[in-house]
Symmetry: C2
Subunit: 322 residues, 2 copies
């Protein structure tokens, strides 16, 4: 194989992590820089390119690199631009794929958002190998999604499809969501959503719970997990309620694209059976009969620390020019 | 062009209509038989084949026919089978595509459900020509859908994707749906759903309405339409409420696949602005900001009497062998 490696770049609000990856999904060399350090995106790309050149040299030079994939908030696959990302220092539309490619003698660069990158990563190296229809759900600070249909990522006509964290799951008296609307799945089934549920339960209910020993304003989903692992009834109920809402939403997703699997990834997915069991019960209860028992519920098979870079790198195998 | 025609077969609970169609979407010859006449599917296929042979002869013989497309309830594109269709006389799994093809000297036959056929028809001859991402919503006795992503119909891993009439639009105190669950879009936004809304409004409200002159049990969506066209306030509100629920659901569909257009078809779509205006207002109000104003709302451009046969026939251009 003449070009045996790809590069994955994961751009987060705090850090940008990048690495060289082989066809099996092994990260050979990796490195990171601070995303927020440069107010000018050209300075940022300059530092990034320096770091990239270093690991490219370690890997044997430009001739070994098939392509670069970038996962970034609000990344648009069609244009290669980051568009109005609230948590990044650069405003407006940033032609990032082009800027990076230019700095690296034209190595092709493809860009998409983080959840799409995770889905492609799972399809290339993880639990979705060989699948042509699946949905990746990332349960982190927010709820993201990457949808694969017929072996292709769904980008929609504008490049922004797959915002399943923002389907409305409670139409009346729904929680305020960061997107400005009410009742979004993300407001309940994210890590922050679980913490909100904990605060709500502690306020309206009177039963005992380990969680009452904590300052309500500082409770995290990790605290709820820890309490549930100690058999705290209230904490277990919080996971049951969260899983139940996810299962309801998944039943609608199945009615849409009838995927072979829905794959969970991210912080909340680490709760394992605590979240998966109620998700499965709720999906079984809510799904349309024709789909009953057909959709597998799986956890990501990518190690969380590597997944973002792996996901982005997987795009490198299918790079295109800008 | 050696094989200039395709055949479309639309199988309904009462009638089976079929016709020969050219590349522009003109139905050249057509015919129909009673679906329910034959308890044995082989007898049915026998009569159907006789009718098909007649119109094939009119069109110049087998050599002119590129393929046959069939739209049928519970039709599975992958297997060519009708699977457990409640409104057809044949039980279990019927390999209809194969049965028809065998009777016609191996002309390739492709089968899918009615709503998918309508979507392909719209893409081939109608309002979705040139579009790669759109959703077809059929508002008839029920609510059906055909989803096109990247130029391809979405079948899902089992062939049954696109059941958007059965996303849950009211999670609490939802109406009983024919599928056995509660709160489905179809229970509200179908022709029968509109009639149910009329009965509910007449019962709980006290304001004047032309609809009060009718026997509530016999009110149809057409009655509500006629009343609304006479400026009946209650009837107009029924359309507003129906359109509003459709718009809410569409906002979720847009978050899923970000289509260029959502196309309305079927009986209720004939209400025109009466239904489209509240749909549009509700979609604008409910859609995630990143998609605001991006999705066109359109009516089907296929004449309703022809649409089912045209839709099925469009499949004939992309036939495969079984």
């Amino acid at each position: 194989m003449e070009k045996p490696y790809v590069i994955g770049i994961d751009i987060g609000g705090t850090n940008t992590v990048f690495g060289i990856v082989d066809a099996r999904g092994t990260i050979l060399y990796s490195c990171s820089i601070k995303t927020g350090k440069h107010a000018d995106v050209n300075d940022y790309v300059g530092e990034l390119a320096q770091g990239l050149e270093r690991i490219i040299e370690q890997a044997g030079g430009h001739g070994k690199i098939k392509g670069i994939g970038v996962g970034a908030p609000n990344g648009n696959y069609f244009t290669g631009c980051i568009e109005f990302a609230p948590n990044l220092p650069w405003k407006g539309t940033i032609p990032l794929a082009q800027l990076i490619s230019e700095k690296l003698n034209g190595i092709p660069v493809t860009l998409t958002n983080d959840a799409n990158a995770a889905a492609i990563g799972e399809m290339t190296y993880g639990a979705a190998r060989g699948m042509r229809d699946f949905i990746m759900i990332t349960l982190g600070t927010g709820v993201g999604s990457g949808i694969v249909i017929g072996g292709n990522l769904v980008y929609g006509h504008d490049g922004f499809a797959g915002e399943l964290g923002h389907v409305i799951t409670r139409r009346h008296n729904g929680r305020m969501c960061g997107c400005g609307r009410e009742g979004c799945l993300e407001a309940y089934a994210s890590a922050t959503g679980v913490a909100r549920t904990a605060r709500e339960y502690l306020e309206i209910r009177t039963d005992e719970s380990i969680l009452r020993n904590l300052n309500p304003d500082e409770i995290t989903s990790k605290d709820v997990y820890d309490a549930a692992m100690k058999n705290d009834k209230l904490a277990i109920e919080i996971f049951n309620a969260t899983g139940s809402m996810l299962g309801e939403a998944f039943a609608d997703f199945v009615a849409f694209s009838s995927p072979e699997a829905i794959i969970l990834f991210g912080g909340l997915a680490k709760a394992g059976d605590l979240i998966m069991k109620p998700v499965k019960e709720s999906l079984d209860k809510n799904v349309l009969k024709v789909f009953a028992g057909k959709t597998k519920l799986l956890f990501s098979q990518l190690k969380e620390s590597d997944a973002a870079v792996l996901g982005a790198s997987a795009l490198g195998w299918e790079t295109k020019d800008f």
